[in-house]
């Protein structure tokens, strides 16, 4: 309303024929203010939903494990993996980066400084290969510096790594393309699922398997990216195994309840991908 009044006034000041110009200005129609948002139908929910918040973080998996009565921390189950980031297949680099990020998140509270720095340095190398820009590298360098000289508490580090995983990385526009973020998430989710499955097997608690590993839509979301190879790109052994693992995980996750054998199959399938990394 204000803008249209100003518009009319300014046109008058310019010396134009106000009668002609005013006739061209249509008064804005006041839109009714909605007090309550309208209900959204199932079709629109499915079609318009974005997947950025779909995948639970590894730290969230650990918390959910505790809620299901399995107190065993996942950090003790994390194994050191030599994850090479100077390779040409960016899809594989993205998955490896996600695994390294999960390991850093799960061990941030109690890992020795040199191990935490090594894991974050691996994440940085992955970000560099994927073309994630210089800001993320500088952020990791800053964190590593503070971890090394002991000037940051582990509690504060938990927040900083959570922010990196959940808020910073998903918003980065990677030179390697839009597939990078989902494939980093896939790596983190596979590593988290593998460790969760191991903890559930140790506790012989298939009920926890039903509550923690039944995520068919997550597997489906990752499959969409894994099955869309870049033009002319030869299938990679890692991506091929990831594809068959995700298909099997989707099948298992679609069951109403999981048995301990199902959980063992999740462990075996995720082991098969992680072994190739």
């Amino acid at each position: 309303m204000l803008s249209s009044v100003l518009l009319v006034g300014l046109l008058n000041l310019t010396g134009c024929s106000s009668e002609e110009k005013v006739a061209e200005v249509t008064p804005p129609v006041e839109k009714p203010v909605e007090k309550v948002p309208p209900a959204i139908g199932m079709e629109e929910l499915k079609a318009a939903a974005e997947n950025i918040a779909l995948v639970p973080s590894p730290a969230e998996m650990q918390k959910a494990l505790e809620k299901n009565g399995i107190a065993t921390g996942l950090s003790g189950k994390v194994v050191d993996r030599p994850l090479k980031m100077d390779i040409s297949n960016k899809d594989v680099v993205a998955v490896r980066t996600g695994v390294a990020m999960a390991d850093a998140l799960l061990t941030v509270k109690d890992a020795p400084p040199e191990k935490l720095v090594a894991r974050l340095t691996t994440v940085k190398a992955g970000m560099t290969t994927l073309g994630g820009g210089t800001d993320i590298g500088a952020t990791i360098d800053d964190i590593n510096g503070r971890v090394t000289n002991g000037s940051v508490s582990r509690e504060d580090l938990v927040k900083e790594l959570d922010e990196m995983h959940g808020a910073i990385i998903p918003e980065i526009k990677f030179e390697a393309g839009d597939r990078v973020v989902p494939l980093i998430q896939a790596g983190s989710w596979l590593e988290g699922s593998n460790l969760v499955a191991a903890a559930i097997i140790d506790a012989n608690n298939p009920t926890a398997g039903t509550e923690l590993l039944r995520q068919p839509q997550v597997a489906e979301y990752f499959l969409k990216y894994v099955q869309t190879e870049g033009a002319g790109k030869a299938p990679d052994e890692v991506i091929g195994q990831l594809n068959s693992t995700l298909l099997k995980l989707k099948e298992i996750a679609s069951k109403p309840t999981l048995t301990i054998d199902d959980v063992k199959e999740v462990k075996s399938q995720t082991d098969a991908v992680l072994a190739l990394l």
Partner: protein, 136 residues
């Protein structure tokens, strides 16, 4: 001079996603003191009446908080949570730009979070809206 005035008078302000995100992050870091942790923060620019929908996996037994912060252009934002079948299961009851919905799922499943820019300031154009999923 006149053209500059005219331009300023009819050009809507840009959505300030950074301001919305700063507001939300302050709440998130405050929440860490009460045991909350963050899964995702994401930003959008919405005009009055527009909405965004996010698919989320929620674990049984875990408490979740869905939080939104809007920039100065936003008057009222709303959050509505739907289950995987499209049934509404929770919504905020406030008429401000920082709504929160708390939710605990009975079983692990996927849900849809709808974030609405229900009302913006007159002539504001799009508003910056930041949304977070936190858990404990």
């Amino acid at each position: 001079m006149l053209s500059a005035l005219l331009f300023a008078a009819i050009t809507p302000a840009y959505a300030d996603e950074a301001a919305a995100e700063a507001c939300l992050k302050a709440k998130i870091w405050e929440g860490y003191n009460q045991g909350w942790a963050v899964r995702t923060v994401t930003n959008a620019s919405l005009a009055q009446g527009e909405h965004r929908i996010y698919l989320v996996t929620l674990y049984a037994g875990t408490e979740y908080k869905l939080s939104v912060c809007g920039d100065d252009a936003l008057v009222n934002a709303d959050i509505v949570l739907y289950d995987s079948l499209g049934n509404e299961v929770a919504r905020d009851n406030t008429a401000d730009r920082e709504p929160v919905v708390s939710f605990k799922a009975g079983a692990t499943d996927t849900f849809y979070i709808a974030v609405h820019a229900t009302k913006t300031k007159e002539g504001a154009g799009k508003a910056g809206v930041s949304t977070a999923v936190t858990y404990k």
